[in-house]
Symmetry: C2
């Protein structure tokens, strides 16, 4: 929180202290970053497995996982992922990231949303992948902010006072979000660059050989062949207008 | 196993049976596909989390996970994934997929490799992501076959009599493979199309919004900026020549 000229001056002064100057280009001198994924029962694995593969490889960054109950979490399709810390045990992190799911009910509880709001207030970055932005919205932290979401659910963001943005990666101040499921990888590279610089992000991109070559052009409604798009609209009621309802 | 004209005639006849004709375009009439990921301690999550997100959503397909010991598996970075069946309990699957890791030691044991070889002999497709192809190579099933691998390890395939192919997705008869880590998603879409047709694969591509837009061009050594490439070559000894050694 910068409060006028005095705080600005302090910030400027810090950048001249030995060992802190150029901190963003010298990994050894950087403050470690605490990056928290908040996961939950019925969550979609790839939403966080994608960005985790990037963030767990950038320098001086601790990736943590938390969930409402702590311990192993049973995701969509019966996959069990762990370990996780108990969300309510965590007071502060540098980056909070909420991945998505079709079924958000485990997160849509007043005490959970209050804790998400608390962590979001002090975090340097508040982020999401896929329908995770609807959880941030329900927590009340996206009012007036542009945000991404899975295309099928994008316009539900308006109900929380957020501004839907169909871009794959959306940045609005300290808020960053990715679109549906696989967008988490692009989001991961983008926030890695934000946190640790373009060089570090590009190195990890090469490490995980992220040179995507989808066999088809079918990854968003504008590109997909009409018969594919129509079949998916039918499968996901409301999705044609970006108004599919998550389970809450 | 087609044995001359008689077997071919039988195959042809089957396609005229009611309910079997056009089986590839009618999900309800198709034989379920058993798709097995063989995972192991120290494995890389995204190698199989990527294709799993595709394959677990295509019609009439059962995705299974097995590991040498069965139960929950501790992957790279301390992530615990489960449940898994015990590999030796599985006699036959339609598709076997071996994801990769830097540390392959849990798989490079004679009895494990023998079981991989056995499953590979009867499978309709024998597949891998990243350095998983080195495990298939060590199992002796890739002799004379073209295969992909993570770029840093690609030429190690030659030691197993396989033919390294730097393409992101490689198909050689019933052998299909993806390159490093994130290539698993492209591989997943490609094999989904192979198993269930282009329409089904494209529908899932739209469901998971797979319209990649990496913030940088740095996903393979040919594209990455020189300073990025050189830094990664230094980080991964031998990688410049595709001869990095996995831990075995």
């Amino acid at each position: 929180m910068l409060i006028g000229g005095a705080a600005l001056a302090t910030t400027a002064a810090v950048s001249f202290l030995p060992g802190v100057a150029h901190a963003t280009t010298r990994a050894g001198a950087e403050k470690p970053i605490d990056f928290l994924f908040v996961i939950y029962p019925n969550g979609t694995l790839l939403d966080f497995a994608g960005p985790n593969e990037i963030l767990s490889r950038i320098p001086n960054t601790r990736v943590r996982f938390a969930s409402p109950a702590g311990g192993p979490v049973t995701l969509e399709k019966g996959i069990v992922f762990g370990p996780t810390e108990k969300l309510s045990d965590i007071d502060k992190v540098d980056v909070i990231c909420i991945p998505g799911a079709l079924n958000l009910s485990a997160m849509m509880k007043p005490e959970i949303l209050a804790h998400i709001r608390k962590l979001s207030e002090s975090a340097q970055y508040v982020t999401s992948v896929c329908t995770g932005s609807l959880i941030l919205g329900a927590a009340g932290v996206l009012k007036g902010k542009r945000s991404a979401c899975h295309w099928a659910f994008l316009n539900v963001l308006k109900e929380y006072g957020a501004i839907p943005d169909s871009a794959r990666i959306v940045k609005d101040g300290r808020f960053m979000s990715g679109g549906g499921v696989t967008a988490g990888i692009d989001f991961g590279v983008a926030i890695a660059a934000e946190l640790r610089g373009a060089q570090a992000a590009q190195q990890v991109q090469l490490l995980v050989q992220y040179d995507p070559q989808p066999p088809f052009r079918s990854g968003n409604p504008a590109d997909a062949p009409e018969n594919v798009r129509e079949a998916v609209y039918k499968m996901l009621p409301g999705s044609k207008d970006g108004l599919m309802r998550p389970i809450i």
